[in-house]
């Protein structure tokens, strides 16, 4: 499994992601600085969480125009797999690789908490096919702009094409499971070909030992299995 992690000024989950992936695959991912213009052939490109370019202008807007992005677009055009987490999800949207928009959390507060996620078994995303969709994933979020929004036509398309992969759910029935006001409780979506996944929760922060949950490990494992299949 050859994995590249794209690093921008302000990325801060790149090394956590590197450790998580190396733990699972036994092979250390390459960290690729955003100023590079070439991406060696990889099985998976990851855009990690953080605050690229200080979140200036709009979250992910400046990173979406970084030199490495053309190589990433080429990788996507060849049907390559991409995972964007948190700021990585915002960057994929700003780069036009995923639909919709991520705006300020409904309560205007930074949210850092464990979330329960339902897996949409009807999603057209191979990455989740080895997961048991009757189980909920416990994976934490940490963001200020994770409130997914799309115009009604776009939202309808996303839903009917099976592009919603993960939704926040209410586990204990006491609180709303949706931490940010996201439309249709959307936590993660995929591209129409199912090869690009963007999600607000951080799987690299749910890797077992020392973490509250090991469900991020399950999700990453499932992504690797789908790519290797």
């Amino acid at each position: 499994m050859r994995v590249a992690i794209i690093v921008f000024p302000g990325s801060n989950c790149d090394r956590d992601m590197m450790v998580a992936i190396e733990t699972l695959t036994g092979r250390r991912p390459a960290l690729i600085w955003h100023k590079q213009t070439n991406l060696q052939p990889v099985d998976l490109a990851v855009i990690p969480g953080g605050f690229s370019f200080g979140d200036y202008l709009r979250c992910g807007a400046l990173a979406a125009h970084a030199p490495i992005m053309n190589a990433l677009l080429d990788h996507a055009a060849r049907g390559g797999a991409i995972l964007g987490v948190c700021n990585g999800f915002q960057i994929l949207i700003e780069a036009g690789m995923l639909p919709g928009f991520l705006t300020r959390n409904k309560e205007l507060k930074f949210v850092c908490k464990q979330t329960s996620l339902a897996i949409n078994s009807d999603a057209s995303c191979e990455f989740i096919k080895s997961l048991d969709s009757s189980e909920k994933l416990q994976i934490p979020v940490a963001h200020n702009e994770g409130n997914f929004f799309a115009d009604p036509v776009t939202l309808d398309n996303i839903e009917s094409n099976g592009q919603v992969v993960l939704r926040y759910v209410n586990e204990d029935k006491k609180n709303s499971g949706n931490p940010n006001g996201s439309l249709n409780d959307i936590a993660g979506i995929c591209s129409s070909n199912g090869k690009i996944l963007g999600m607000m929760p951080h799987p690299e922060r749910a890797m077992g030992a020392g973490h509250e949950s090991a469900d991020g490990k399950k999700l990453l494992q499932s992504i690797f299995e789908a790519i290797e299949a």
Binding site: L57, A61, L62, F101, T103, R104, N147, F149, G181
Partner: protein, 82 residues
């Protein structure tokens, strides 16, 4: 030439910040408040004396980076060089 670019959310696009300002103003007793929008103002200077060219270049900047045209609209105001 100095150009003022104003970027705002398009009508119907969720804007939690404007909603919060709306609520706060209402709670301060501004009963006549009808609507609140919040945007950004970006000022750029372009090396040209041609207004139409300046407008064209500013629009290019908005389309390629400054505005997310899926959800934001922009207006361009050309200021005469002082």
């Amino acid at each position: 030439m100095r150009i003022t670019i104003t970027i705002e959310k398009k009508p119907g696009v969720l804007d939690p910040e404007a909603q919060a300002i709306n609520k706060a103003l209402s709670s301060l007793g501004f009963d006549d408040l009808q609507n609140v929008t919040m945007g950004k103002q970006i000022t750029v200077s372009i090396d040209t004396d041609n207004k139409e060219h300046a407008r064209y270049r500013a629009a290019k900047m908005c389309e390629s980076l400054l505005a997310n045209t899926a959800i934001e609209s922009y207006t361009i105001e050309i200021n005469e060089p002082s």
